[in-house]
Every structure is written in structure tokens, then in C-alpha cells.
Amino acid sequence: MSAFIVKRLGFAVITLWAVLTLVFFIVRVVPGDPAQVVLGDQATADAIAAMRVRLGLDRPLVLQYAEFLFGALRGDWGISLVTGRPVLVEVMDVLPWTLELTVASLFIGAIIGIPLGVWAAVNRNRIPDYVTRLASLLGLSFPAFVSGILLLILFAIQLRWFPVISAQAEGVGGWLRALALPAFNLGLIMAAYITRVTRSAMLEVLSEDFVRTARAKGVPWRVVVWRHALRNALIPVITIVGLYLGVLIGNSVLTEIVFNRPGLGKLIVGALNQRDYTMLQGMMVIYTLVVIVVNLLTDLAYGAADPRVKLK
């Protein structure tokens, strides 16, 4: 198991380095002078030169690259061109908001999706299965901003059960009320994905020989389903949910915009609009880190769920 973890960690480091290098060169290779891009078309030559110095673009490329890598390692991701505050501080300010949203929605997705998927698989080609399949297909067809806007219109504007802007929070009640709509928006979409993955994994597992063995020894059907089958089905579910992480993060950006909630998504959109390119660099790094950490967690969960992994 330890060799397995070390190997995954090594892979994570290589990935991080590759992304950092890619980010560094994209910014410099892409046509158009970043300083020009930052300052806009009307900037004077002097202003652009000054900006180049400020961004460190006047120095040799190798030096810039080394500084960039070294800085990224030390947590020095530069200063935001717009706010003047360190990028890391800006990111750390909003990271908890995004984490809280994604973890809550993953939780909602699993709680709804796994039992629903099992239920559909056990009732294959009967009414519960059809209803579940159709509902989950509809769920994952929703662009997160469309579903978010619908929730907002219905529950915040029409019914006024929840705040329209979910940034202000007073006490635990206020925090929950602010979190509820965005978390459900993301969570229901996640539930749609998890339902479908669980259903197909369960269908596959239920046709395995060992399920027949369990039935042949007289184990009750519910134990066959929830102990023998689901434990095996969770292995592919974990992997695929890990792969849907990208969908989750993308949807969280849209959700944060719709519910006007602070977070990485709002930060990156702001940086894009204001051409704050040191901030963008930092955001790329933080997203890569998040992806890597979640992949590691997925691998660990996978290793915990599947005794065969320890062999590697």
C-alpha cells in the first residue's frame, strides 16, 4: 500500500510541475504582450515598458521560469494586479467558501444518488427504474446556471425562503440558509450523475457469479444487495465520481455567479474580466492542486474499498 501511495504522490508532483510549466509558457508564448493585454489598447509605450518591469517580463526567460517555480513552491504566487494583495491571500480568503459548497453538494449527491441508483438497478426495467433513469437524465441535462436561476426565482424571489445573495450569513441558521440553495443546486446535479453510475455499476455486479454464490448459500436478498453487491459497485462509483470532479468544479463556478457567493469561481471570473493575469496563474495552480488532492483522495478511497489494490 505504501508503495502505491508514494507512486501516486510522485505522479502528483510531476503533474503539478507539468501544469506550472504549461501555465508559465502559455502566458508567454501566446500572441500578444501580457503587459499590453493588462493595460489595454490605449496604453502608452512607456506605461507598457513599466508594466513589463513590474511583471518581471524584462528578465531572461530561464530566470523568470526558475523564479516562478520557486515562488510557487514557497507560496509566493505574486501580487494581484487589480487589488494589490498577494494572490495566495486572495485565494485563501475564498477557498473555504468553495470547499464548503462542493463538500456539501457531494454529500447531498451521494446521499440521494447511491440509494436511488441501487433502487433503480434492483428494479431493472420496472417503473422505479424508468422514473429514476428519466429523472437523473433530466438532472444532468441542466446547465448549472439554468437550474440555479430556476431555484433562485422559485425559492428566493417568489417564495422568499432563502436569501437571494448567499454571501451574508449570521449564525449557524443564517449560514445554513445561505448554503442551502447553492448546495442543493450542485448537489442535485451531482446526485443525477451518481445515481446513473451507481445504477450501471450495480447492474454489472448483480450479474456476477459471486452474487449467485451468496444467493445459493441462502443469504437474504437485502444483504446480497447492500453487502455483497454494493460494496463491489462502490469501487467503480468512487473512480467515476472522481472523474466528475471537473464537472463539479465547473458547475461550482456557475453556481457561485448565480447565487452571488464568494469563492474560487467568482474570483477567476473577476480575474478574467479584469485581465488580472498573476491572479489567473495562481488560480491555475490552485485548481491543479485541488484536482491532484482529490485524485489522491479518490485513489485512497479506492484502495480502501478494494482489497486487491494493496497488491500493487
Binding site: L140, S141, L150, L152, G246, I249, V269, L272
Partner: protein, 289 residues
């Protein structure tokens, strides 16, 4: 027996049978064809010019001149929806086709060659796959600029790894089948085996996935436009229309509803279609229906 163990004509018959078993996929196909037809016919059936502003009739309700009402600039919502469909479908179809061609080629090559090449290529693909497609798309469009071509490039780029994965798995399983080994024993070249013996056996799976990824591409395009990185206004795009509606959500939220419904209907129809097709070609599910 697996789907790949059937010849073309029998496979088509079985596919249609399985497709028939799932009535909702016909519904999906019908809706999608309707939307395509409406988009193609937009210049002839749209009641008004989608870009022309009429300040005196802004924010109107449905009327005979404006069947779905007008927006903030007094533009006809129905006409903008019809023209918007053209952009959504164009961007979706072209980017999905490009991703399918490039991604499947990568996947087939990786699966066929195996070894280090496979490991390195697929790990790169996995990282790209795990990286949020929307963020990647956002950055590419932001850096390159929001033109039609750049948006297509960005969306295609983000779905390449998915196609690589989709093509690689069946390539590996087909490669291990004895008939491919027999081809090698008969002295056939690699290219002949890959394109004449492997590709036809995995093409159905790739094609099915394309319909699901077309849905995803249309959604991504709308998301980009919603964030403000779509085609520049006043070009009508569904995502852009929702954005305009959303900016005034407190007093005129219905502006967001029509394009929102349009996206949902198209994406849902494509997903229904792809889902039915997948059941129809999935070797694991076949024969049980």
C-alpha cells in the same frame, strides 16, 4: 456474446431493436431533428431581425409581432432564440467532431501500442480530464479572444481526453481478441489491422459517445456565454440571452426562462438519444432486452 461479435447488418438490426425498446430515445431524436430544422430555417421563419433594436417596445410581453416578447433593447426574443440555435449547434457539432477525430485517434494509437507510450499519453489525458473543462475553456477563450473559431477550439480541446478514453478501452479489449492476433499471424500491417479490423468494431461506441458529448459541448458553450466569454453581443446566443436576463433578475427574470428552457430541451433530447443508443450498443446490456 458481445456486440462486437456481430456483423454489421445483424448489429444494425439488433441496435434498432434495442433502440426501439427505449421509446424515449425516439423522442430525443425527434426533438433534436426539430431543433436542427428550426435552426437551419431561422432566416425564413424568424418573425423579426434578431439584432435590430426597437427601444420603444422594450420588455414587451408576447404579441403577434413578438410571439415571445422583447428584451431590454426591444429585440424579438423568438428570433434571437432561433438564430441562437444556429450558433449553439454549429459550435457544438464542429467542436465535437474535431474532438472525436483527434481524441479517438489518440485513444486507438495508445491502446494499440500500449507500453510506455500508452501510460504517458493516457496519464496526460487523465490530468486533462480531471481538470475542470469549464475553467480550461474559460482560460483558453480569455487568452485567445472570444471568436467563433476560438470557442470551437477551446471546447474541442476540453473534450479530447474523453474521446481518447472512450476509444482506448475497446481498442484494448478488441486487440486482445484472437482474431486480431490471427491478423498479426497472417502478416497484416499495423495500419491495416487498426483501421480495417479494430476501428469498425469500436466505431459504434465512439459514435454513441459523440451524441452525449454534443450535449455537453452545447452546455459548455452556453456556460461560457453566460460568464461573458461567448460570442460578442449583439450576436444572439442562448447563454448570452440568459446572462442578459439574469442581470435583471429581480425585475424581469422571465427573460432568462425562454433561452434556459431551450438549452435544457436540446441537451435533454441529446442525452435521451445518446442514452438509448448506448443501451443499444452496450455489449453488457445487449440480449437482455
Amino acid at each position: 456474446m458481445s456486440a462486437t461479435a456481430r456483423p454489421r447488418n445483424a448489429a444494425i438490426a439488433a441496435t434498432i431493436r434495442a433502440f426501439n425498446a427505449n421509446k424515449t430515445s425516439w423522442f430525443g431524436l425527434g426533438v433534436f431533428i426539430l431543433v436542427v430544422a428550426l435552426a437551419i430555417l431561422a432566416p425564413w421563419i424568424a418573425p423579426n431581425d434578431p439584432i435590430e433594436q426597437d427601444i420603444f417596445s422594450k420588455l414587451q410581453g408576447p404579441s403577434s409581432t413578438y410571439p415571445l416578447g422583447t428584451d431590454y433593447f426591444g429585440r424579438c426574443i423568438l428570433s434571437r432564440l432561433l438564430y441562437g440555435a444556429r450558433y449553439s449547434l454549429l459550435i457544438g457539432v464542429v467542436s465535437t467532431l474535431a474532438a472525436m477525430l483527434i481524441g479517438s485517434t489518440i485513444g486507438i494509437l495508445a491502446g494499440w501500442h500500449g507500453g510506455r507510450f500508452d501510460v504517458i499519453v493516457m496519464q496526460a489525458m487523465d490530468v486533462m480530464l480531471a481538470f475542470p473543462a469549464l475553467i480550461l475553456g474559460l482560460i483558453i477563450v480569455a487568452v485567445l479572444g472570444p471568436t467563433l473559431t476560438n470557442i470551437i477550439v477551446a471546447i474541442a480541446f476540453t473534450s479530447i481526453p474523453a474521446f481518447a478514453r472512450i476509444a482506448r478501452a475497446p481498442t484494448i479489449s478488441v486487440k486482445e481478441r484472437e482474431y486480431v492476433e490471427a491478423c498479426r499471424a497472417l502478416g497484416f500491417s499495423d495500419a491495416r489491422i487498426m483501421f480495417l479490423h479494430i476501428l469498425p468494431n469500436i466505431f459504434a461506441e465512439i459514435l454513441v459517445m459523440s451524441s452525449l458529448w454534443l450535449a455537453s459541448a452545447i452546455r459548455t458553450e452556453a456556460s461560457l456565454a453566460f460568464i461573458g466569454l461567448g460570442l460578442k453581443p449583439p450576436t444572439p446566443t442562448w447563454g448570452g440571452m440568459i446572462r442578459e436576463g439574469f442581470e435583471n433578475i429581480l425585475d424581469s427574470y422571465w427573460l432568462a426562462l425562454a433561452p434556459g428552457t431551450a438549452i435544457l430541451v436540446v441537451v435533454f433530447a441529446l442525452n435521451l438519444l445518446g442514452d438509448g443508443l448506448r443501451d443499444a450498443v452496450d455489449p453488457k446490456l445487449k440480449g437482455e432486452q
